[in-house]
Symmetry: C2
């Protein structure tokens, strides 16, 4: 399983302020903490800076790569910021994200061809947010075919089925679970990834919903998460769910994590 640490995101107030103040120490520390806690990739998002986003992205990628020795996930819908991020990133990054929307696709696909990053591809197109399993599968097919045609191996594709809040749609979680199960059957080499937290939007004690949803997604075969690795209960459940789903031979990773103090009950 792959964990993309989600915390360096400018939609969070503390991060926006730290970015504004170019608070290198704070951001580096947060990157390090996420990696220590189990993040395999660190997400970097500075989308609120609008026309200054490329400049901030260049600075951010630079300082975070000084702090940690894992790939970053360049997280932006802005092509100029994405290109800057890809250009200055040392080694091969992940990008978040491409979609099936025509303009976004046409803008991003040359960057995919040139830099061959790992790619998060959202299951939406110009018809808007998906409303069913079928919507997601239809867009997923186009995304996988298009990315493979652009030269990307299936192993580098991370399909994001897109999460709606369960408070808005009672079937939101079930749809994602079902989509994941079908996608993993159809494309065993392609990964399925999600940002968990949208599921709990508008509801109380969101972390608990996010954690339960994470377990359901693991069981369905989801193998990558954009998540908060500092939530120790969430990380504990990830280890447990992998063992229960039969993806951790002899529970060795679970036992190892528990010995390292990474599986906690309280």
């Amino acid at each position: 399983m792959l964990i993309v640490g989600e915390l360096i995101n400018s939609s969070r107030k503390a991060i926006a302020q730290a970015l504004e103040a170019r608070d290198e120490a704070y951001l580096k520390d947060l990157a390090k903490k996420q990696v220590e806690a189990g993040a395999h990739i660190v997400d970097v998002n500075c989308a609120i800076f609008m026309e200054k986003e490329p400049e901030v992205m260049e600075w951010l990628v630079g300082i975070v790569q000084e702090a940690v020795n894992v790939p970053l996930c360049i997280d932006t819908p802005n092509v100029a910021a994405m290109e800057v991020g890809l250009k200055c990133h040392k080694g091969r990054p992940m990008i978040n994200s491409i979609t099936g929307e025509k303009k976004r696709w046409d803008d991003m696909i040359p960057l995919v061809s040139e830099y061959k990053p790992q790619v998060v591809a959202l299951c939406m197109d110009d018809t808007g947010m998906p409303n069913s399993v079928e919507d997601r599968l239809r867009v997923a097919d186009r995304l996988v075919n298009g990315l493979v045609q652009a030269g990307l191996p299936e192993e580098d594709i991370y399909l994001d089925p897109l999460i709606k809040p369960v408070g808005v749609s009672g079937t939101a979680a079930i749809e994602v679970v079902e989509t994941t199960r079908i996608l993993k059957e159809k494309y065993p080499k392609v990964h399925v990834i999600s940002g968990l937290s949208n599921i709990s939007h508008g509801l109380p004690v969101r972390k608990v919903l996010n954690r339960a949803f994470a377990v359901m997604c693991v069981q369905a075969g989801m193998d990558a998460f954009i998540a908060d690795p500092l939530d120790r209960h969430l990380m504990s459940l990830f280890y447990a769910a992998e063992a229960l789903a039969g993806r951790d031979k002899n529970c060795l990773q679970y036992i190892k994590a528990s010995r390292a103090g990474k599986v906690v009950a309280e």
Copy 2:
């Protein structure tokens, strides 16, 4: 969802001691705490007392029913203790358990016919513990047919697929999840119940595995659990999992529980 509070069980040392000392206050308090925390039924087990079990069961049922206003689950493989428990229980109890083993079936079925309790029926027979989904389904068919023939409505049957430790068999959790899904499709009125904790036998930080397994079981349609209601993280995940599984319209039970302080993140 139905929660059977599992804590008054003589296999736990503190309980064995309290039963030995006839410590009424301690046992009553534990029954009350479980009901306050969300147990709908309180399990009572005094199986370690062997030939004295019927006598202890009579006392135990009496004092626990003085303390709480919910049905008890008379938990014993011993027919004499079961009969005493059924006889002295006020109102209709649950019993745990009947199996497909010939002797146990023949012993217990007259009690089922006479007292019409809710019945936990374990998916095992004289061939031993089930080793596959098919084993469980085969025994489940016989149990459901036999219990219905004995006059029990399907709604009063709780099939227990039986949990093996995931540390022993990597497919232990998946088999139970799959069995549950099929049983709920085949017998929508029959309940599926489990004691969670066997899944984590022999592994560290057992509660975390039990919790993740609970979420997977809820998603598969399991609707009753023999569990520790004092584990607030477990109970929180139950509420969340029901909402995510689409079994809590507009997340109302989740919201209500969170307002009552029953959904906790830390």
